[in-house]
Symmetry: C2
Subunit: 163 residues, 2 copies
C-alpha cells in the first residue's frame, strides 16, 4: 500500500491525475506566456466542491496568470519544487521550495508567479469558490465580473465594454 500508484480515493497520487496544459480563457492579446502551465486538479479529483487544489507545473518563461486580485475568494500557494518570482505591489520576491504566499479576498494587491529560472517549478494553488467573485488586473485595462456559478467569468475593459 505504500506504492503511490496504488492509491485509491480518498487517497490519491497527484501524478496520476491528468494534467491540463495551455488552458486559458484570457483574451488573445493577453495570452503570451500564459499557456505553458500544466495543472492537475487534485481537489476536483478528490470530489471537493468548496475549494480547488491544483498541483501546477510552470515551465521557464511562463506565468501562473496575469497579475490579478479577487474580491471574494482567498488564494494560497505553496512551492513544492524549483523557484518562482512572486510579483505584487511589494515588488518581487523569489519563492523557493517550502515557501508560501497567501492572497486574502478583497485586498487590492495583484499577484502572479513567474518562472524566470531555467527549470520547471511546481506548486500547489488553492482557491475557494465563494460566489459573486469579481476581480481586477491592475497592470492592464481589464477586469472580470462574476456571471454565475458554473459559468465562465466575463472579461471587460475598465469602461465596461467586453473583450
Amino acid at each position: 500500500m505504500s506504492d503511490a500508484s496504488s492509491a485509491i480515493l480518498p487517497a490519491l497520487d497527484p501524478m496520476a491525475v491528468p494534467g491540463i496544459t495551455g488552458e486559458t480563457d484570457y483574451p488573445k492579446i493577453f495570452q503570451a506566456g500564459m499557456t505553458g502551465a500544466t495543472r492537475r486538479r487534485l481537489g476536483d479529483a478528490a470530489g471537493l466542491k468548496n475549494f480547488g487544489v491544483n498541483l501546477t507545473t510552470l515551465p521557464p518563461g511562463n506565468a501562473s496568470a496575469l497579475r490579478h486580485w479577487h474580491t471574494k475568494q482567498d488564494e494560497f500557494v505553496y512551492v513544492i519544487s524549483g523557484e518562482v518570482v512572486l510579483v505584487t505591489d511589494r515588488g518581487e520576491q523569489v519563492l523557493t521550495a517550502g515557501m508560501a504566499a497567501g492572497f486574502p479576498a478583497g485586498v487590492p494587491d495583484g499577484h502572479h508567479l513567474i518562472n524566470r529560472s531555467g527549470q520547471d517549478a511546481t506548486f500547489l494553488e488553492i482557491g475557494d469558490r465563494s460566489a459573486g467573485d469579481d476581480g481586477d488586473y491592475p497592470d492592464i485595462d481589464m477586469v472580470w465580473r462574476w456571471v454565475g456559478r458554473g459559468q465562465a467569468d466575463v472579461y471587460l475593459h475598465r469602461d465596461g465594454t467586453p473583450y
Copy 2:
C-alpha cells in the same frame, strides 16, 4: 530576496510562523495520541478567512485527529515529508511525500492520519470554513455540533448528552 527568512507578506516562510503544539479540545478520555501535532497556521498568517492551511508536523505515535467526517466542510491533505497512515472505511493506506488525500463534505467516511513510522511527518492540511458544519466520529460515541461562527463546537454523545 531568495532567503526564505526575509519573506514579507503576501509571501511567507512557513517555518517562521509559530507552531502550536498540544492544542485539542477533545474530551479528556479521547486525548491520548492527539496532542503531539504541531500546527503552523499559514492561512491565518496570510490573513485568509475562507479556508485554513496548516503546515502540520506529526511525531511518531500521534494522530492528526480522531477519525471523523464533516457535513459541510471539505478537507484536503498533501504530504510534504515522512509518511503517515491514512485510515478510512477503505482500510489503511500509507501516504508518503508527494501523496495527497481529499475528504468531500457530507461523505460519511471518517478519516485521520496516524504516524506509525519512526520519524516526524509533515503535511499541509486544508479545510474551508463553511457555516453550519457538524461532524461525526464513527469509531466512538461522539459527534460534534456547530454552535456558531467563532464559537467552539460542542461534543455530544450520540444520545445528545454533552461530554
